[in-house]
C-alpha cells in the first residue's frame, strides 16, 4: 500500500520536476516566466502533434517503432516548448516588455493551444505510444519492492531527475552557472564584467522552456496513458510554487516535487470525504506560502529570489 503510494508519487513528481527545473533556470536569469504553465501545455501539444504525425506516416500501426516515436514526440515537445520560450524571450528580453503581462498572455495562449490540438488531433494509436513511454527496465520485476521503487518508471521520469541534477551542478559549480546567477542578481554588473546579458537570458529561458515542455508531454503520454486531458496548467502553477518551495535549487526540487506529488495524491489513498480531499490538496500552496514568508523574514542571502527577478534590463537605463 505505502509502497505503491510512494511509487506513484515518484512517478507523478516528474511533471512538477520538469516544470520547476525549467522555471528555476529561467528565474536564475532574472526572468519571472509566468508563462510556464502555458509552455508546459505547449510542450504537451507538441508531443501530441509529433506522435500523431509519426503514426500518420506509418502504413500500419503495428509497424510502430518504440524508441523512434518516443524520441520524435520528445523533439516536437521540445520545439513547441522552445517556441513558447522564444515568444517570451523576444517580447521581454529584446523588446523589453513587462514580464508578468507577457507570461500571463503566454499561459492563455498555451492552454488554448493544447485544448485546440487535443480536440482536433487524430488519437488513434496513442495508447500504443503510451506503452512505449511507460516502458521501463526489463529486470524491474526480479527485484521486488526495490525494483518497483527505483526501476519501474518510463524514460521521462529518469530524464527529469537527470536534468534536475545537471541543472543544479551547472548553476552551482560551473562558470556558466556563475555568470547566469550574476545576470539574475545584477545584470548591470554582469554586463560591465563582459557577460552578455542578452545571450544568457535567452539561453536560460529557452532551455528552461524546453525542459518545461517535457512536463506536458510526460503528463499526457506517460501519466495519463495517451488520454488527453487539459489540466496541465494547474500543475504548471504548482511547479512555479515549487520553485519558491525549494528556494531556487534544482537539486532540492527532486525532493520537493516528490513531497508535492505525495500531498497531491494522498487524498486518493486515504479514506476521507470529498471536502477533506480538497483541504489536503490545499497543502502544497500553503506550505509554499509558509516557505515564502519564512525565507523573507529570515532573509538569509542564500534563499532569496534572484535580485533582479521580474525586472527587464536595458543597458542605457539607470
Amino acid at each position: 500500500m505505502f509502497l505503491s503510494f510512494l511509487q506513484s508519487a515518484i512517478r507523478f513528481s516528474a511533471i512538477f520536476l520538469f516544470g520547476s527545473v525549467g522555471e528555476t533556470l529561467t528565474e536564475k536569469s532574472g526572468n519571472l516566466n509566468l508563462g510556464i504553465p502555458g509552455i508546459m501545455c505547449m510542450g504537451g501539444a507538441g508531443g501530441l502533434i509529433g506522435a500523431a504525425a509519426y503514426i500518420k506516416s506509418l502504413e500500419n500501426i503495428s509497424q510502430m517503432n518504440g524508441p523512434s516515436v518516443v524520441i520524435i514526440a520528445m523533439i516536437t515537445a521540445m520545439l513547441f516548448g522552445g517556441l513558447g520560450g522564444l515568444i517570451y524571450s523576444v517580447l521581454t528580453i529584446s523588446m523589453r516588455c513587462n514580464q508578468n503581462v507577457t507570461g500571463l498572455a503566454l499561459t492563455t495562449f498555451g492552454i488554448g493551444l493544447l485544448a485546440f490540438v487535443g480536440g482536433t488531433v487524430d488519437t488513434t494509436g496513442f495508447t500504443t505510444v503510451a506503452v512505449y513511454f511507460t516502458k521501463s527496465f526489463p529486470f524491474e520485476e526480479k527485484l521486488g519492492g526495490f525494483g518497483e521503487l527505483f526501476f519501474s518508471y518510463g524514460a521521462l521520469v529518469y530524464i527529469a531527475f537527470i536534468l534536475a541534477i545537471i541543472s543544479a551542478v551547472v548553476i552551482k559549480k560551473t562558470r556558466v552557472g556563475l555568470n547566469l546567477r550574476a545576470v539574475g542578481e545584477n545584470p548591470a554588473t554582469a554586463d560591465a564584467a563582459g557577460v552578455s546579458v542578452t545571450n544568457y537570458k535567452y539561453a536560460a529561458t529557452m532551455i528552461g522552456s524546453m525542459i518545461a515542455g517535457f512536463g506536458g508531454l510526460f503528463y499526457i503520454m506517460d501519466y495519463l496513458g495517451g488520454n488527453i486531458e487539459y489540466s496541465v496548467d494547474v500543475y504548471g502553477w504548482m511547479a512555479v510554487a515549487l520553485v519558491i518551495f525549494t528556494v531556487w535549487r534544482p537539486n532540492w526540487a527532486i525532493l520537493g516535487s516528490i513531497i508535492f506529488s505525495m500531498l497531491y495524491l494522498a487524498p486518493n489513498y486515504l479514506d476521507v470525504s470529498f471536502a477533506q480531499k480538497e483541504v489536503i490538496k490545499m497543502m502544497p500552496y500553503l506550505v509554499t506560502i509558509v516557505v515564502l514568508v519564512i525565507t523573507s523574514i529570515v532573509s538569509k542571502k542564500e534563499s532569496q529570489p534572484p535580485a533582479s527577478l521580474g525586472v527587464t534590463y536595458f543597458r542605457e537605463e539607470r
Binding site: N98, V101, A105, T108, G112, A115, T120, Q276, Y285
Partner: protein, 388 residues
Amino acid sequence: MIKAKSDRVPLFHISKRDNVPKWQAWLIRGGAVVAALLVSAVISAILTDGASMGLFFKNLFLGVFGTPRRILNLFQNTAILLCIALAVTPAFKMKFWNIGAEGQVLMGGLACVVCIKYFGGKMPNELLLVVMAAFSIAFSIVWAVIPAIFKAKWRTNETLFTLMMNYVAMQIVACCIFVWVPSGSGVLGVLKYGHMPQLGGQNYVINIIVVAVLVVLMFIYFRFSKHGYELSVVGESENTAKYIGINVKKVIIRTMVLSGALCGVAGLLLVAGTDHSLATTTVGGRGFTAILVAWLGQFSPFLMSFTSMLYVFIDQGASEVASVFNMGGSFPDIITGIFFFLVIGCEFFINYKIKFRSFKKKNEISTPDAEGEDTAVGLDKNSEEVTA
C-alpha cells in the same frame, strides 16, 4: 579573435524615446490590433483549409453584434472584466504585482454564497443584498491584505504570494461546495435568493451601472485625491516617497485594502448579478486577463473600459467564429493570446527607437587595427561612431 570583434558594429542600436506624440502612439497600438485580427484571420483560414477571410470577420462581428442578447452579453462581460481590472489597477500603479485577483474575487463570491446559504429567505432581498455586499467586500479585503502586510513588513515577494493565494481560495471554494452539496457532484445549483433586481426588464443592467460609476470614482481617486498621488509616487520611486514623508508601508496596505474591496464588488456582481451560483471556475481566468487589460489601458480607468471591451469583443467574436467553423471552444484562447502578444509587443515601438547601422560608415571604420593595446582604441572609435 578580439580584433575581429572590435570591427563589428551592431546591426541596430536601441535607444529610449520619451516624447512620442500621443496620436502616433495610438496609431501604433491600433496597428497592432489590426495586425492581430489579420493574423487571426489567416490562422483560422489555415486551420479550416481555406475559409475566406471575409467569413472570419463577418462571424467575428455577428458573434458580438448579431442579436440584442449578444450585445448585452458584450456589455455584461465587459463590466465584470473591467471591475476586476479596476481592482488590480491601484496596486499596479504602486508597482505591487498583485496577480491574486482571481482568488480575491472568488473569496468575495464565496462570502456571497455563505450569506445566501445562512440568511437567504430569513430577511428581505434588499437587506440580504446589502449584507452580501458587506461580507463579500470584507472577505476580499482579508484575502488581499494578507500578502500586503507581509510585503510591507518583510518585503515578501508579492507576485508569488498572491499567486499561491489564488489556489488556496480555489481549494476553499471546492471544499465548501462539497460541504454544501453532500452528494459529491461538486456542482452548486442555481441559488434561489440574493438575486440583483432587474432594471428595465433586463438582467445585468445594474452590473453595468455599478461598474460605470466605479470607473468615474476610480478616475477621480487617481487624479484628484491625495491617496492617488501617494500611490503613484510609491510606484515611481520608493525612496522618493520615503524622502517626502510618505509612509510607504501604510500606502501599500491601504492600497491593497482598496484593491480587495473592488474585488469584493466584482465577486458580488458575479454571484448576485450574473451566475447566481459558484464554482472554482466562476472567475474563469478573468483575474489574470484583467491584469493584461489594465496594463494595455495604461492603468487609466477610461482607457481600460475601452481595452476590456476590445478584449471581450475579440473573445466573444472568436467563439462565434469557432462554433461556425467547428473549431472547438478553445480557439478564442489562441486568438486572444495572439492579440496580447502583438499588443504587448507594440509597446516596444512606442518606448524605444531602433537605429540601424549605416553601411557606409561601417566601411570607413573597418580599417584594420594593429594588435594588442590598439584594439581598445579601435573599440572606442567604434562606439563613438555609433553614438554620433
